[in-house]
Amino acid sequence: MDFSAILPALPGLWDGMLLTLQLMVMGVLGGVILGTALAMLRLSHNKWLANAAATYVNYFRSIPLLLVITWFYFAVPFILRWITGEDTPIGAFSSCLVAFIMFEAAYFCEIVRAGIQAIAKGQMGAAQALGMNYPQSMRLIILPQAFRKMTPLLLQQSIILFQDTSLVYTVGLMDFLNASRSRGDIIGQSHEFLIFAGLVYFTVSFAASLLVKHLQRRLAV
């Protein structure tokens, strides 16, 4: 084992890590927004909307992420073509990002829903007694409290997403894992680069999960 070749490769690996982080951050942001919207629908009094959101969640939670990534990679160009009527080139990055957002939204939805349901019923009653309408009470009273409660869970899910971004390997996107593998293969040191990649993933996720645990203790209401 000779790890000396990793040093000169670091800039390239860093580019890969940037792509990984970019995917993760955008995936989490999009996923939380879509997930929150889905949670609102699931909790709404309209049975049709609630059922539609529930179907969405159950659907995405019962298929593998890798299937979603692969499917979107193949299908998005066709769908865009049907919508826009002309060839719209879309990179692997965008199709992966869409896949992550739609997939993770199902998981984020369940976290947000549990967070909202954990808020005392009286809060909504009190908000409405003060003359707020439903959107106002949600936005100003319920959601801020709910998000505080569920921050640790959202962050844990984000760590999982950080690890799951490695699945974009399947469409050849140069994320951190793929950058490590391809560089290791070129110079014939795939083992060293693979071990290094594993160590980096471990260090980042482990440190992040320690932070989340710390935060969990501080945020505890």
């Binding site: 593998p64 992420l65 890798l66 692969t70 066709f78 083992h191 693979l194 993933y201």
Partner: protein, 248 residues
């Protein structure tokens, strides 16, 4: 980019021998189930052992199990799979390495790697569930067992574990379903499980929407079926009076 819809594609010949596309899906599903079930046996056995280790009154033993869990939870599944498939065989003793690389057919060696990988990966998760289950039991259970003259191994096998397993069936169910979904990574080391067969069908027939729709339906049905099965088991073995079952 014109697309020719053809839902009959699954009954058409693949052009290879006398196979139709549906045969590919059946073969793929077979691999998926074979990976998931064998991986699950490993995960359940090792995970239970680790879960017990995390709760025994010995800091060193608990520390080993905690380290295991942290390592296997914080490295992405795909990286673990590559390590098992590309790296570990090279570290084996010469005869074993030759056997793995030359004597085994490629599907078998990929299968072994995936099963070991998923088994050990899921074991870390099962461990946490088992630990939670044991810790959820009242302390008095252990104390009472000690008072009756049980030794520690007997306490685990006769008092704690039988109750813990029954409490943790819901979270174990979701791990059990996860191992089916996670088995799809096997497609990335060339094992022709369900997802790989789907991709191959999409590429051969150019009917990608139909192929992926069928794959989605299969995963979905598998998931629902297993979930119903686990619910039935959960109801049957519920500890009376301990927890509400099936409430939702």
């Amino acid at each position: 980019m014109n697309y020719n819809w053809d839902w009959g594609i699954f009954f058409k010949s693949t052009g290879i021998g006398s196979e139709i596309y549906l045969d590919w899906f059946v073969t793929g599903l077979g691999w998926t189930i074979a990976i998931a079930l064998v991986g699950w046996v490993i995960a359940l056995l090792l995970g239970s052992l680790l879960g017990v280790m995390r709760t025994v009154p010995n800091r060193w033993i608990a520390g080993i199990a905690t380290t295991y869990v942290e390592i296997f939870r914080n490295v992405p599944l795909l990286v673990q799979l590559f390590l098992w498939y590309f790296l570990v065989p090279d570290l084996l003793p010469e005869p074993l390495e030759m056997w793995f690389k030359q004597d085994l057919n490629p599907a078998t060696s990929a299968y072994l790697s995936v099963v070991v990988c998923l088994g050990l990966f899921t074991a870390a998760r099962v461990c946490e569930q088992v630990r939670t289950g044991i810790q959820a039991l009242p302390q008095g259970q252990t104390a009472a067992a000690y008072a009756m003259g049980f030794r520690l191994p007997q306490i685990y096998s006769n008092v704690l574990l039988p109750q813990a397993y029954r409490i943790i069936i819901p979270p174990l169910t979701s791990e059990f379903l996860n191992i089916f979904k996670n088995s799809s990574v096997a497609s990335l080391i060339g094992l022709m499980e369900l997802l790989a067969q789907t991709k191959q069908t999409a590429e051969f027939s150019a009917n990608l929407f139909e192929a992926f729709t069928l794959a989605t339906l299969i995963y979905f049905t598998l998931n629902m079926g297993l979930m119903l099965l686990m619910r039935m088991i959960e109801h049957r073995v519920a500890v009376p009076g301990l927890i509400a079952v099936g409430g939702k």
